[in-house]
Symmetry: C3
Subunit: 394 residues, 3 copies
């Protein structure tokens, strides 16, 4: 008979191998709609125009609109009768008007600055408004700060991966709406366990074998945690079950030794910008769900943006620290192969698993140190943030 | 950060401009599925035939069937095992039979008058039945009375707009299922604020400008409330924001002065039947959601029929008090233009807003005196009705 | 006004004809997802292959997979992160592997026997597992035992209709997913009342009339209950309503007298295997929802398999106790006519009613002795089962 965990029953049950629930991570458990108090990428900058558009981030309805070159974000609900402002348009410079009765809001502060259908002396003018959000543009995208408790937004550069702040680079990427909770997407991204098995059939790995299993540590450094591989095994004999390997006659020979830049062996030549960073491992993760996979010549980032409890937005970006003519080669390669093989089919296998993952209950195993380290990072960071908020004079 | 009203939190918050919730109108607030104790138009008379059809009014499932020229309404649920009677058919004159086991109900009183599969001596015959509803036919439609507490139906003519009871007229109309609560549809209909702005782009108004804003009073008279315009403004300068007008070079000049028959100026000639009514304003509303828009030569009515909390039926009727050959001209005009422009595209803009309105919370503004007057009318009428019911011996 | 039964209000209301609710059958009332502690047919044996497939029985997710000729059933949820095992495949003989991280389970006992991505010395190996289910193959189908409280499965032959255990036979059938609760399907199958009326228009009955009404008893014998017809009426005059008959000029004359093998009259010749059973009536029912309709030359069975509270699986089987060359004739007849007319169109009318039945509340009538007898059987059988379970040392 199927055993199901009753809510709250976990503590009194005999201990089973692996952790059963998320009670050690109460803040993480509560973050089904995402962690507030962070910058999130929302859409490509080129998609934000004078016509307002609707987005949902951390369960919050937001409209983005561009005026005179600057992007603005407002809460997407007219305070009059609840109609989405994203259905309206611009009637005056620097404003957006609700489609229903023409309530007109100042884009810079959300204040009701004119009420078309009640005339210039409308008594409610200036007395109400809609919440606004801090906006920034980075990596060709519009980012919005979703506050935790009404606080001002910190500079976005404090949250971006450090190497993206001061170096020149070229990039390609995709933004996809995806089914499933953002935490499953994020855990999938940093997960030590699955890639070698799930992606064994991906075209991206057609000529390169995957290991069978690794011994992995997780190493914190600054606001990042890194997966560091101590052992890499290319074959395995499972007693009483059989032999298993990812090697095939048509694939390249696996590299010798372990490696922590790229996942295919110690590279001959590493890009100088990347080398300078001295990353302790090729896969790293930081709050609020930013994955960095370092290859010898480029870095791949994934941002897992919470939409609501059942949906997230996958933002995948490939960055190359090139200048001048070399950038053209990158774009050709990205559009011709990377975008399709990696950002498409390979990560489509991940999207599939993220959609069907269903936990807790769960039973964790040795490689899941990657997951528990991430949850611990999320938990302690949030605990500190909340404590700091309480300590501030209100 | 987005502020959300917590339930019950309204009273203790500092007062913001505009009313925040519907607590001043408890009966109105509770009437999500409609006010019971009224006649409602359900469908065109020609659609009610010997084959039973299914409808929902005020959340109640009803089947309509015609027998020997008369329309009948029964609760659409066989008391045996709950199968809808509207899936059955007529096996004997004056009856409807359930499709499953042939339980047969008398159309005049809903009594189980024969049980085909249990023979003439079936012990349950005559002992059970289905509720029936009073039915009337007016304006080419079948109307059903949805009782409040089992009371007998009052004459429908007491509820119909007075001018439709004793005058000859021709009419055209449409009945459309629409998304959204019936109250938003009704409030939209009588709403002073939106028409000038929302409908500025409608083809119906292609050559006639709309005002920018008005000063409006609401005047009660009998069971109706009327919007009366004291000021009409065709241009406006919004300080620090800009100029706005509905005038265009290709549109007619706006009329001088205010007007309260039709919304396009003081007419040269008014239809004698309409003139005789002496309506104080061109837009009026009565329970349980009947809108009357008076033009010089015709009257447009809208009935907002509650289906359930999320759906209503829009019944729009255009009436012309003509006789003889003049009626042919009306039908040609209605079918050629009015039906498409007014009952179609113009009111499609309303349907769109009704579907996306989301209140409370809400913040009302000066023109919303039309909404609060309507809610007050609904509230006090219902309070009196309920008091009268309690006063009766039970 | 529509009267609705309030929950719990039944006992204090004045008694109305017919039973109102299912409070006399508490176990039956609780069995919305089916009775556990029985064997259920799931799918055709030929559909169970080396590629795992997903099924739901009694609300429980189950995956079926065949290995080396034997079918296995496992709970369809990987204990690691909740991914369905039916999305995985076989990496080693006698096992199934989860698609996400390659956790590998022994098909015979559900134990985690290898963890591909954690190597041969994975500490969690052998420590966790998935529940398994007893499996049998009968009538060309895979059957699964859904336990009540972790008990071992009894032999399936104790539950199969007795005549199918030791006799040779040929068969044809269909398995269809259907909307509606399994109890409505089961009650519909044994229901004395509806067939004569609902199926009057079915092609299967094109040339044979149906009675109007019967007087029926229900007779228990062993674990079966039988409908026994004492009177069969071919015409009826309903006082004040009209005359009704199923006879038509193009149909055969109805038979004389009553009959209890087949429903079309006393047959000239009955198959010897069928004759030997001495069935007291042509329609019989046993737990957990097995219907048997006995015709002179064949028996038709229906198994109503609970999927969840709103869906069931209809399994219809036509059996002929033939041997040798005569079997070919049966298959030709089944595929040419029976499958389409009977298992298709005729039972499609039943599927329609099962989908729209909505009870309780309900008001039962005389022929519903068939339903109440069935519910009493289900109720008392379950009461005994539960008592026996409690009496066992735990
Ligand atoms: S709902 Fe936005 S102006 Fe009225
Ligand atoms: S459900 Fe209507 S007659 Fe049986
Ligand atoms: S979810 Fe099944 S192996 Fe991880």
């Amino acid at each position: 008979m199927a055993r199901r965990l009753e809510e709250g029953a976990t503590r009194t049950r005999p201990k089973l191998p692996g952790r059963q629930d998320w009670s050690s991570w109460p803040n993480y458990d509560a973050a089904a709609e995402g962690f507030r108090g962070y910058w999130y990428p929302v859409t490509w900058s080129s998609h934000v125009t004078g016509k307002p558009k609707a987005f949902t981030i951390c369960g919050e309805k937001i409209t983005l609109i561009r005026d005179n070159g600057t992007a603005y974000a407002l809460h997407d609900r007219c305070p009059h009768r609840g109609v989405p402002l994203s259905l309206g348009n611009q009637q005056f410079p620097g404003t957006v008007s609700c489609p229903y009765h023409g309530w007109t809001f100042d884009l810079t502060n959300g204040k009701l600055c004119a009420v078309i259908t009640d005339g210039p002396d409308s008594p409610i003018r200036g007395k109400v408004g809609v919440p606004t959000y801090a906006v920034a543009e980075r990596l060709g995208m519009v980012w919005v700060y979703v506050p935790l408790a009404g606080e001002a937004a910190p500079p976005i550069d404090e949250q971006l991966p450090e190497e993206l702040v001061d170096n020149a680079f070229v990039m390609g990427g995709r933004i996809d709406p995806r089914a499933g909770n953002w935490r499953f997407a994020c855990e999938n991204g940093f997960d030590e366990g699955h890639a070698k098995y799930l992606h064994r059939t991906s075209l991206w790995r057609l000529f390169k074998p995957m290991p069978v299993w690794n011994i992995t540590r997780v190493v914190p450094e600054g606001r990042w945690i890194y997966r560091v591989q101590d052992e890499v095994h290319w074959e395995a004999d499972f007693p009483g079950v059989g032999h298993w390997t990812g090697k095939r006659w048509w694939k390249l020979r696996p590299p010798k030794g372990t490696f922590n830049v790229g996942n295919t062996g110690t590279p001959k030549k590493v890009d100088p910008v990347i080398e300078k960073q001295g990353f302790p491992g090729f896969a790293s993760l930081s709050m609020p769900g930013v994955l960095r996979i370092v290859y010898p010549k480029f870095i791949h980032y994934e941002f897992y943006v919470p939409v609501d409890a059942d949906n997230h937005r996958y933002v995948g970006v490939m960055v190359n620290f090139l200048k001048g003519v070399a950038t053209a080669r990158f774009y050709a390669k990205y559009l011709g192969a990377i975008r399709w093989l990696f950002h498409g089919q390979f990560s489509g296998q991940d999207a599939w698993m993220v959609d069907v993952t269903d936990a807790p209950p769960e039973k964790l195993y040795r490689p899941d140190v990657s997951l528990t380290s991430w949850r611990n990072l999320a938990e302690s960071t949030t605990r500190q943030k909340l404590a700091a908020l309480k300590g501030e004079p209100s």
